[in-house]
Each structure stands twice: as structure tokens, then as C-alpha cells.
């Protein structure tokens, strides 16, 4: 393990975080939140020189291989959350550091689970910072660094692989730097368009920006205690549309930019994603229309079903209605959608549509092989044969995923809350959704958990965002040996 280069990347992460804290600081200053902005200033003044020292050339030494890439990603995200939590804690608006850490990790990992019951009490500066972490975490801080920092060789692609979701991360253009730039340009363009549209639909600018960051990163932090319910119908419809859009594989947008419309609409994953959405919307609309919203009407049911499904499938976690009050079948489908997650290569979390497709195709092949034991049947996705290694890692991902899930589930069950609360709390954090059911439902929060459980759930969020391996690797002793 080459610690120099890891320190070097930590330096860049610190630098990026220090710079991003400038905006919330200015908001705080403008609003005279005199107990908040000095802390932002102090943190920036400490971080910026530290990052500056670590990003000097003397740290950029030695070689950079796969394991350094994964370790840098895992450690980087922990550092990111640990530092990001400081403004909340130091300003005293979240008095407990573990609570602040949970809140920040939830922000960066685009989960959106909160420990706060009164979020408006944070003040606008901190609220902005909380939402901005969603935006940074959505596309990834390391991807941002790769877009800025010229590097030689190809090993830094590992950083992107470790940070970007999906079973096989591919580049759009030959160079990592250009790929990262392209991704961020698409991301910024979509975000700006969205914020403008939100503003036009009647949201105040501050809300539009914060909700915009939350939608773009598929995070889920709001800025009002009432969640999304206060906003106009038009705003809610816009939010719904953009939640779906940010759950789409960004390759789709790249193909659109390159005017390869046919290729774009041929993307198998996007088609399946749309398919799952449509089927779910139809079923859930009918169910909740029949049982919950008889008086409000079919259109009302459709609106909220579409919003909630978009919110859960893209793993955003906004809520307009409390879906915990829906009938059992509706709640179950929501929980299943939490696991499905968005497309690979999007900002969403969860298990990813393309990975599920691979597993489904493998299961079908297994049955086919029973009928024709000698048959040769390669598994194809997006018109191409899937390599054995990709299939293997998809299957293993499921195994590891279950192991992490069960471990976390057992650990938080010690505390003694009910089964559904614990189950959906782990599901909501590991899949980076936000709200669960029962005590962690859309109108509740995670504040009641003990410190230990909060740390376990924080780990779940980070592991879920980075697709398990970068976080688990940190626990594997051989990662840290100097040689071999």
C-alpha cells in the first residue's frame, strides 16, 4: 500500500470540501447567522492550508494501483463525511457529533435519512450545506477531482470504478479526465435546467436550489419540516420528472448529445427501468385509489403514486404523502423498489437495474441448462456478450450485499425496535433511499436510534453508495500491509 498517494488524494478531497463550504458560509453571513458562519470560516481556514500541503508534488510519489484506488475511495468518503459534519456540530445546531456525522454521511451518500425532527431550525446556511453534500456526493467527489486533475497512466480509472455505481463501469471517451468532465457537464447542465424550472414553477430560489441538489444527487433532504407537501402541484410534477431523469444511466444522455438517438433509446437498461416504473405506477395507482384516496380521485392517486415510486426507485426519498399508511401490497412494493434502485451509471443507489437484469438472465440460463445440458448460451446485455468476470462479480455482489444487510440488521435489532423499523432502516440506508416504514417512515426520523446503531447505519450508507467493496476493503487486514 502506497500511503503517500492516498494522502495526496485525501489532500484533494479536503481542498474540494473547503472550497464547497464557501457558498454556505456566504449564505450564513448574508443572513447574519452569527453562531454558524464563524465556524465555517474557521474550518475553511484550517482545511485549505492542510489540503494545500497534502496536494504538493512531494506526496504524489510512487505507484498507484487498484488497491490504492479502492482504499483512497473508501477513506476519502469517510474523511468527507467526518469533515462535513463539523459545521453542524461546532455551531451547536446538532449538538451530538455522531448525529452530525450521520446527517452528513446521509448527505454525501445521497441517502437523505435525517436525525432531525425540526430541520428548519438548522438555519439556511447549514440547510444549504446539507443539500449541497447531496449534489457533490451524487456524481462523486473523486470523479470531480479526476475531471480537474491531469494524471498519467490508467490506474486512476480505479478511482472512478470504485466511486461510480454499476456492475461494469465504462468510459465514454478514451481519457478518464474527459469522461469525468463530460459526466460533470451533463450533471451541471441538468441541474441548472432543473433549478430554473423549479423556480419558474413557483418555488422560492433557495428552496429550488436545495431541492434541486437533492433531486440531482437523488438524495432526499428537504428544507422544510413539511417535506415536499407544501409545494405546488406543478413543482411536485417537475420534481417527479427529474427524479426519474436522474435515475437514468448517464450514458443515455451522452448518446443523446452525440445525436445517437437510436442507440440511446435502444439501451436495454433504460427500457427495463421505464418498464418497471410503468408497471409499478399502474398497480400502485389502482391500489391506493381503491383503498386510500377514493375521494381525492384517480388523478390524485396517480400523482402521488408516480411521485413516491420515482422517489424510491431513483433512491431519492422525497415524500409528498406518508406511504406508510398505504395498504400492505403498496408498502411491500415500495420496499421492493427500494432494493431495485436506479440504473447503473446514474446518481441513484440500490442494487441497480442492470445488475438485477444480469442475475435474472443467469437464473434463466440455469433453467435452460437443465433442459439442454449441452447447450452453449452466452449471456448478453446491451447487445454484447457479458464477460464471465462481470457475471461473477454481479452474483458475488448479491452475496456480499446480503451479508452486509444481515449483519447490519442483526446489529441494530439489539436495540429492540420492531422488525419492520429495523428492516426498512437498513434497507433505506444501504440502498441510499432515506425514509423507511413504521418508526423510520416518511414523516419520522432516525433520531431515536442509539449511537451504536447510528454508526452501523452510517457505515451502511457509505457501503451502499460505494457499492460495498471499497468500504469492506478497509476492514480487510491485507489491504494495509506494506508489501504483498
Amino acid at each position: 500500500m502506497n500511503f503517500w498517494i492516498i494522502a495526496y488524494f485525501m489532500g484533494w478531497i479536503i481542498e474540494v470540501e473547503a472550497i464547497s463550504m464557501l457558498i454556505p458560509m456566504f449564505i450564513s453571513i448574508a443572513l447574519h447567522e452569527s453562531d454558524v458562519w464563524p465556524w465555517f470560516l474557521i474550518i475553511i481556514l484550517v482545511l485549505a492550508p492542510l489540503g494545500f500541503i497534502l496536494t504538493r508534488k512531494r506526496f504524489r510519489r510512487g505507484n498507484f494501483y487498484v488497491r490504492e484506488g479502492y482504499a483512497a475511495t473508501g477513506l476519502g468518503w469517510i474523511l468527507l463525511s467526518a469533515i462535513g459534519a463539523l459545521p453542524f456540530f461546532l455551531s451547536g445546531r446538532i449538538p451530538n457529533y455522531v448525529d452530525a456525522l450521520f446527517e452528513t454521511a446521509s448527505g454525501f451518500t445521497t441517502t437523505g435519512s435525517s436525525v432531525l425532527s425540526d430541520i428548519e431550525a438548522l438555519g439556511k446556511g447549514l440547510l444549504f450545506w446539507r443539500s449541497f453534500t447531496h449534489w457533490l456526493g451524487g456524481m462523486g467527489v473523486l470523479v470531480l477531482i479526476l475531471a480537474i486533475l491531469p494524471m498519467n497512466g490508467g490506474y486512476h480509472m480505479q478511482l472512478m470504478k470504485a466511486e461510480s455505481p454499476g456492475p461494469s463501469v465504462s468510459k465514454l471517451v478514451p481519457r478518464v479526465m474527459d469522461t469525468a468532465k463530460t459526466l460533470y457537464l451533463i450533471y451541471i447542465a441538468l441541474t441548472v435546467t432543473m433549478i430554473l424550472l423549479y423556480r419558474i414553477s413557483g418555488m422560492p430560489l433557495f428552496d429550488a436550489a436545495c431541492i434541486g441538489f437533492g433531486t440531482a444527487g437523488t438524495g432526499g433532504f428537504g428544507v422544510r419540516n413539511s417535506g415536499m407537501a407544501d409545494y405546488s402541484r406543478a413543482s411536485q410534477i417537475l420534481i417527479t420528472i427529474f427524479m426519474y431523469l436522474f435515475g437514468v444511466n448517464f450514458n443515455f444522455y451522452y448518446l443523446l448529445i452525440r445525436r445517437k438517438f437510436r442507440d440511446a433509446f435502444k439501451m436495454e437498461e433504460v427500457r427495463v427501468y421505464v418498464g418497471i416504473i410503468l408497471v409499478n405506477i399502474i398497480i400502485v395507482t389502482l391500489v391506493i385509489w381503491r383503498f386510500n384516496y377514493r375521494e381525492e380521485g384517480l388523478l390524485y392517486s396517480l400523482h402521488h403514486a408516480a411521485f413516491t415510486i420515482g422517489s424510491l426507485m431513483s433512491t431519492t426519498g422525497f415524500a409528498t404523502v406518508d406511504f406508510d399508511t398505504w395498504p400492505e401490497i403498496g408498502r411491500l412494493m415500495m420496499v421492493l423498489l427500494m432494493f431495485t434502485g436506479a440504473c447503473a451509471g446514474s446518481t441513484g443507489g440500490g442494487f441497480k437495474v442492470s445488475r438485477l437484469m444480469l442475475l435474472f438472465k443467469e437464473a434463466r440460463k440455469e433453467m435452460h441448462m437443465l433442459i439442454h445440458p449441452q447447450s452453449v448460451r452466452p449471456i448478453k446485455q446491451e447487445g454484447k456478450v457479458v464477460e464471465h468476470s462481470v457475471l461473477r462479480s454481479a452474483s458475488n455482489y448479491l452475496t456480499i450485499y446480503l451479508m452486509v444487510f444481515i449483519a447490519a440488521f442483526v446489529l441494530i435489532s439489539i436495540e429492540g425496535h420492531d422488525f419492520i423499523t429495523n428492516f426498512t432502516a437498513v434497507a433505506a440506508t444501504l440502498n441510499n433511499i432515506g425514509p423507511g416504514l413504521s418508526m423510520v417512515g416518511a414523516t419520522q426520523n432516525f433520531g431515536f436510534f442509539s449511537v451504536g446503531s447510528k454508526l452501523v447505519l452510517t457505515f451502511c450508507m457509505l457501503a451502499g453508495r460505494l457499492e460495498l467493496l471499497p468500504m469492506l476493503m478497509l476492514l480487510y487486514p491485507k489491504t494495509w500491509t506494506k508489501h504483498y
Binding site: V66, M151, N152, G154, M157, P174, R175, E387
Partner: protein, 453 residues
């Protein structure tokens, strides 16, 4: 520039690595996806699986924004087809590897008809390099500038040479030949020397001189200078064929004794090249080598298809004779092994080819103010020697060197003006039409402007 490379073999990978380091955007095409995967983990390139001779695959690899297409698959014919197709779709630069000696006579016709901008033939280039090394036995490497007007010669300074412990400024007193020491490699360190630099035993020195002056220089410095008169060649593959071809046309002939294991191949060689002595047998057999008189040979060239054999046979021949050893190594980079086998010259088809393509690409990129003529990598790629033709650029032309501010680690080693060679001092200046040889440890220079501060 956007570059597509078809064929992800040894040469394809070496090209991808070098061009990538030069800052180009490289896309690799190969049928074998796992090779691409491996390439994409260590290099910053994009891999596209499929047949590079299909328009669909080329389009997927970004033919619409491509500047240069390089076809280096195992088959000459496929390479030509790739270039032909790509050229029909878009007017781009195409480079193809064509190495079958049978095409050699018609290569210019083929090149014109198919529209290939550059033909690369690693085996021929290696043969050329071997011939050059044979002409100058004490050199480890020779590069030529100014269309052969001057050579840059690298050699290791032996202890008995009068040059040892002499400062460069005192050299002209002892040695009358106009020779310019332009680079010294000492303990893996590259030194661009000044007048006060002293030469030491075992330094790897590089000097620039006219070929005739170089011979005189070596005479004075007690270095071997006579060209090899006879040489053993182990392995009768393509390189041997090209050696035969060059030898046929060259003035100073060398007697080649070719040892080839395969009777059929040996037969073909004997049929085609009358001046070869072809022996069908195992080149690794000590007895055979002694019987054939390896002790009296001037050079021993091992160019079989296996790196390990080439090196091992070279070691054995070194034990048996004083012959100059030349071994072909293709799988590892020569700079990684050169220093452990100091008595042998390593030739590598892979590096020779990659260098020549990099040279071509740089020439395409260079501005109009100065034309990029040639590029050689020195000291295992840590320094570069480049040749530029000076055009009419007011920032450079007719300004004495004392008033030009050059970057550190850049040396203008020689100016070739007409038939004169000038070793530039502070009052000299570059003029339009001059050829300038520049040595630099800083990489990626495309024109003379890049060396200015």
C-alpha cells in the same frame, strides 16, 4: 489528437502507451475483450471489442472524430483493409504495419493505391538498426540526423581511453576531430554536459559527428572502429531476410552466417540470398557454434522469436568469443534490461516501431514555424533527441543563442547548415533552412518554440 489503434498485441500496446503518454486520446480495437480489459486497467485508453475492418466497429470507436488510424493486427492484409476502409469513410492519416518481405518491392505502389500515409515494418527497421550497429562496433546505439549527414553515437567509455578524466573544454586540444559530446549517462542519471563536465570511466556518452569524423574520433580514443566483416545470425526469420536485402545493396558488405533450425526456412533463405552462408541447425548448440568458428566472428546476432533464447545465446557467445553481441528482445522494454547486459546491444522491434510512430505523430502536430524531422529516445526514454528544420520564424531566426532564453535541460547540440556542422556557441544563431539537433530531458516538444522559456 484522436487516435484509433487496431490490434492490441505487443506493438499495439507499446504504441498505445507511448501515444497516451504524449497526451493523445487513444482508442484500442481488438477482437479479444480480455486483452482490452487488461490494457484499460493500466493505460488511460478506451477499448472497443470487435473486428477493426468493419465500419460499424470503427464508428463505435469514434472514426467520425479520429485523426490517425493505426492498424497493427497480426495480418498485413487485414491492416491494409482497415486503412483502405477508414480512408474511404474519412480523409484521415492511416498507418499500417506491413511486414511480409514479399510485399517489399511493391510497397510504394500499395501505399499509393490504398492511401496509407505511413507503412511501418518493425522487422525491417530492426534489420536497419542492426546494419548500422555492425558498421560501428563500439557503439551501443546509432541515430542519424540531417538525412545521414551526421550521426549521433552512443558508447561506453572504456578505462584505457585518453578521454577519461578530461573536461570537455580541454577535449579539443587532445582530439582534433570535430565531435560534440551532447549527453552523458552516469549511474542511471542523464547529464546534459557543460564545458567543465569531466568524463569518467564507464560513462555512456553520446556524441554527434560526421560518420567519417566519428571513425577518426574512435581511433584517437582507442575505441574499436572497424566495421564488422562477418557475423553470426541465429534465427532466419523476417529480420534475417531484411538483413540479406540491405547487405545486397550496401557498399561495405558483411559476411552473414545464418543458423536456422527449420530446414524449409533454411532452404528458402539460401535460395534467395546468395551471399548468406546458411546452416541448418540449433543455434544454441555450443559445438555447432565452435565448429562454425564463432571465435573469429566480429558479431553475433540472435534474432529468434524467443527473447529468452536470444539473451541466453548472446551470453554464451560472449563467453566463447570477443564478438559484439546483438540480441533481439521484444516482450520486455529494452531499457529495463540494458544495464544488466552491458556488453550486448539490445534491439527491440516494439520500441523501434513505437518511436517511429511517435515521431510521425509529432511531425503532424508541429507548427509551421519549424518542421519536425526526427525523434530518438535516449537513455531508456529519459531524454529525447530531435531534429527540426528552421523556417522563417522571427522569434528564432538570426538571434544569437546568448540572447535566446532556452528552458533548462534543453541543449541545441548541433546546427547543420548546408554541408557544415556547427557546434553552437553564444554568438551563433539559427538561420532559415538550417537543421537543428536538440537534446532535451523534457518530453513532448513539437517545435522549436517549445524549447523557449
Amino acid at each position: 489528437m484522436n487516435i484509433i489503434i487496431i490490434g492490441c498485441g505487443k506493438i499495439g500496446l507499446a504504441l498505445a502507451k507511448d501515444l497516451n503518454n504524449e497526451g493523445h486520446k487513444v482508442t484500442l480495437i481488438d477482437k479479444n475483450e480480455s486483452v482490452l480489459q487488461k490494457a484499460a486497467t493500466s493505460l488511460d485508453v478506451l477499448g472497443v471489442g470487435g473486428n477493426g475492418a468493419m465500419i460499424g466497429v470503427l464508428n463505435e470507436a469514434g472514426l467520425d472524430s479520429c485523426d490517425i488510424l493505426i492498424a497493427v493486427t497480426g495480418s498485413d492484409e487485414v491492416n491494409m483493409l482497415c486503412c483502405l476502409l477508414a480512408k474511404r469513410v474519412r480523409d484521415i492519416q492511416t498507418i499500417a504495419r506491413i511486414r511480409n518481405p514479399e510485399y517489399e518491392d511493391e510497397i510504394h505502389y500499395l501505399q499509393e493505391q490504398i492511401g496509407i500515409s505511413m507503412v511501418i515494418n518493425p522487422e525491417r527497421m530492426v534489420a536497419h538498426e542492426i546494419i548500422r550497429l555492425l558498421r560501428f562496433p563500439s557503439a551501443t546505439e546509432i541515430e542519424s540526423f540531417g538525412k545521414g549527414m551526421v550521426d549521433m553515437i552512443h558508447l561506453r567509455l572504456p578505462g584505457n581511453s585518453p578521454l577519461c578524466n578530461t573536461a570537455l573544454k580541454d577535449m579539443s586540444r587532445t582530439i582534433p576531430a570535430p565531435v560534440l559530446i551532447s549527453m552523458i549517462e552516469r549511474n542511471n542519471e542523464v547529464i546534459i554536459p557543460s564545458g567543465s563536465t569531466k568524463l569518467l570511466e564507464n560513462d555512456e556518452i553520446s556524441f554527434i559527428a560526421r560518420p567519417s569524423d566519428a571513425v577518426r574520433f574512435c581511433k584517437i580514443c582507442k575505441l574499436e572502429y572497424a566495421p564488422a566483416k562477418n557475423a553470426f545470425v541465429i534465427g532466419g526469420g523476417r529480420i534475417a531476410s531484411y538483413l540479406g536485402r540491405y547487405n545486397k545493396n550496401s557498399k561495405t558488405k558483411c559476411q552473414f552466417k545464418v543458423i536456422e533450425n527449420n530446414p524449409e526456412r533454411a532452404n528458402t533463405l539460401a535460395e534467395n540470398f546468395d551471399d548468406f552462408t546458411v546452416i541448418c541447425g540449433d543455434g544454441a548448440s555450443k559445438q555447432l557454434l565452435i565448429e562454425e568458428g564463432v571465435e573469429h566472428s566480429d558479431a553475433f546476432i540472435s534474432i529468434t522469436g524467443f527473447d529468452e533464447q536470444n539473451v541466453m545465446m548472446g551470453l554464451m557467445a560472449h563467453n566463447l568469443s570477443d564478438a559484439r553481441i546483438i540480441a533481439k528482445v521484444n516482450r520486455v522494454d529494452p531499457e529495463d534490461v540494458e544495464n544488466v547486459i552491458p556488453f550486448a546491444s539490445i534491439v527491440s522491434p516494439k520500441s523501434v516501431t513505437a518511436d517511429s510512430v511517435v515521431r510521425y505523430v509529432r511531425a503532424l502536430e508541429s507548427s509551421k514555424d519549424s518542421d519536425f524531422e526526427s525523434l530518438y529516445k535516449l537513455a531508456g526514454g529519459r531524454a529525447e533527441a530531435m531534429e527540426f528544420t528552421v523556417n522563417n520564424d522571427p522569434d528564432i531566426v538570426n538571434i544569437p543563442f546568448s540572447r535566446l532564453s532556452l528552458k533548462p535541460n534543453v541543449l541545441v547540440a548541433a546546427i547543420i547548415r548546408g554541408s557544415r556542422i556547427i557546434s553552437p556557441g553564444g554568438s551563433d544563431c539559427m538561420m532559415e533552412g538550417d537543421s537543428v539537433v536538440v537534446i532535451s530531458t523534457q518530453k513532448g516538444m513539437n517545435d522549436l518554440h517549445d524549447m523557449m522559456q
